[in-house]
Amino acid sequence: MAKLDEETMAKLKHMAYRARWHTVDTARDHLKMHFGAVFSITEILTTLYFTWMRYDPKNPDWEERDRFVLSKGHAAPALYAVLAEAGFFDVSELRTFRSLHSILQGHPCRVKTPGVEVSSGSLGTGIGAGVGMAIAGKLDHASWRVYVLLSDAECNEGSTWEAIQVASNHHLGNLVVLLDRNQMSAGGPMTSRNDIEPLADKWRAFNWAVQEADGHDIRSILDGLEWSETIIDRPAVIICHTRKGYGLPIIETRNEHNFMLNTEQYHQALRELAEIEKEVTVHVA
């Protein structure tokens, strides 16, 4: 199990809470949001951004930075919340999400948002760009690494498997995919549409190193990330088992893909967030 001091763990849990709070605060009771997809990756993103990746929020183009690609672009609000908390832009920007002239588009846009590396939103495209970045890093013998957050439903896209195959044939030991395995696509359970099991075997068959993790357990995610550093001759995937909408019962029980909270549900979400806030302790030095 990854060693993590109490202070860092508390900070990460607090950041996960903050990310969910920002998402609810951005949507309030008048914006549709992919709440489920956002909440299933919250712990993965907070772990990457607040204890793992190297970056400089004041110099987003810093050459030595690790690269992060949100291939499942519809979960953009999770990325925006984390980027804001990390200092890439002011948190006050979050409430401009999806409005005219905002730097925060409905799906990630690299030319508008500091910290966004790849414009994504069409599923199955971001991972390919991540592969290209990793090839560039390898060509330059760079020490930075590429992290791609892929959804399980993106494994229904043929282009995803093209990119996966190219990555292993290029022996990209600097590429790590974190796969959000929440078992749902937009229309419902993946088992009832175009199932992707046996998922781990498929990645293994494509010559990737495979590890599984609990995508809401920060230590488990960190275990996966630490393991990924030991893989140097091929790309690594961490299949993160998650729950769509995890964190707030009012969201998780909706069991929907893209929806709006009514005023009562919004207030309920705030009450549930307040309960979480009581649990997350922050020791800021």
């Binding site: 846009c109 690299r110 790849v118 991972i127 390919g128 290209g132 990119a163 195959q165 190219v166 044939n169």
Partner: protein, 323 residues
């Protein structure tokens, strides 16, 4: 200079090597067609900067984008029909919207892979690429211009689609020519009709102009090597001068050069025009020249179209005078 026919695809391959020597950031991305695209020449010289992804064109585009985001200047190669159509989503999402500095090189454009049949004819690539914001679209005519264009597009910090011909034609330009992206080139001045042509169809336009001259018709020939951004000023100037326009392209008449010039003149200088190209149909297998003849894209068809559009112009002017 030699009037021997030259295959522009080799000019492309050789220019990539020259560019590679000049600029270490240049990377060539292949999707299993390096030999056919002539980019294998680059691989021989710079094996470490040649990235092969196999028969995975969509990923070739994405890999190009990822390389571009990491400071490289990738030239992604495949046949034009796959470069633009099979990969359209990747180009739209990651390259055009993402303003990735990727050079997409479509080999064997138009009917220049004639024998392969409609599956391999790129008759809508320029229309697709032209519709994308942030995309520059170029289609050089001869070997000299192709060589120039390979270097010129490296200077643009943004996405470019370069359509390449496979036709073997005598050179149009001499070595002193310098291409300027966005600036159409008047190859022959004339006063009766303007022939706007793109890619190797510039040859057909020049040949037609010769024939028209024997009939006492003075045709202006303009090489529109940049489809986007279109040289609106140059196009309007010539259209106003001659009052009769023919567009000539190895592409569908929908959305390519004919479409672009019709849009331009419709807004700025409505002018009688005719479009030479495929008329909303898939083509079939045979040599490029046989197909162009059969599908109304040969110099003789340009001559007919020029005469026809001049008659229309005469009728329009007569009607205006009569009123």
């Amino acid at each position: 200079m030699s009037r021997e026919p030259q295959d522009v695809s080799y000019a492309f391959g050789e220019a990539l090597i020259e560019l590679g020597k000049k600029n270490p950031r240049v990377i060539v991305v292949e999707s299993d067609l390096a030999d056919s695209c002539r980019s294998h020449l680059f691989r021989t010289q710079f094996p470490e900067r040649s990235v092969e992804v196999g028969v995975a064109e969509a990923t070739a585009i994405e890999v190009g984008a990822g390389l571009a985001f990491s400071g490289k200047i990738p030239y992604v190669n495949t046949f034009a029909v796959f470069a633009a159509a099979r990969t359209f989503d990747q180009i739209r999402q990651t390259v055009a919207y993402g303003q990735a500095n990727v050079k997409i090189c479509g080999a064997g454009g138009g009917l220049t892979l004639g024998y392969a049949g409609a599956s391999h004819h790129s008759i809508e690539d320029m229309a697709l690429m032209r519709a994308l914001p942030n995309m520059t679209v170029v289609a050089p005519s001869d070997a000299v211009e192709t060589r120039q264009m390979v270097h010129a597009i490296a200077e643009i910090d943004g996405p470019v689609y370069m359509r390449l011909s496979r036709a073997k034609k005598p050179p149009i330009y001499d070595g002193g020519y310098r291409v300027e992206i966005g600036k159409a080139v008047v190859l022959r001045e004339g006063s009766d009709v303007t022939l706007f042509a793109i890619s190797d169809m510039v040859f057909e336009a020049l040949e037609a102009a010769e024939t028209l001259a024997t009939k006492g018709i003075s045709a202006e020939v303009i090489n529109v090597h940049t489809l986007k951004p279109l040289d609106i000023e140059g196009i309007v100037r010539s259209a106003r001068k001659t009052g009769a326009v023919v567009t000539i392209e190895d592409h569908s008449i929908i959305g390519g050069l004919g479409g672009a010039i019709a849009e331009c003149l419709g807004e700025h200088a409505p002018t009688p025009m005719r479009r030479i190209g495929l008329r909303d149909t898939f083509c079939e297998s045979d040599s490029t020249m046989v197909l162009r003849e059969a599908y109304g894209m040969a110099p003789s068809h340009v001559v007919e179209a020029a005469e026809e559009v001049m008659r229309v112009r005469g009728a329009v002017r007569g009607a205006v005078r009569g009123a």
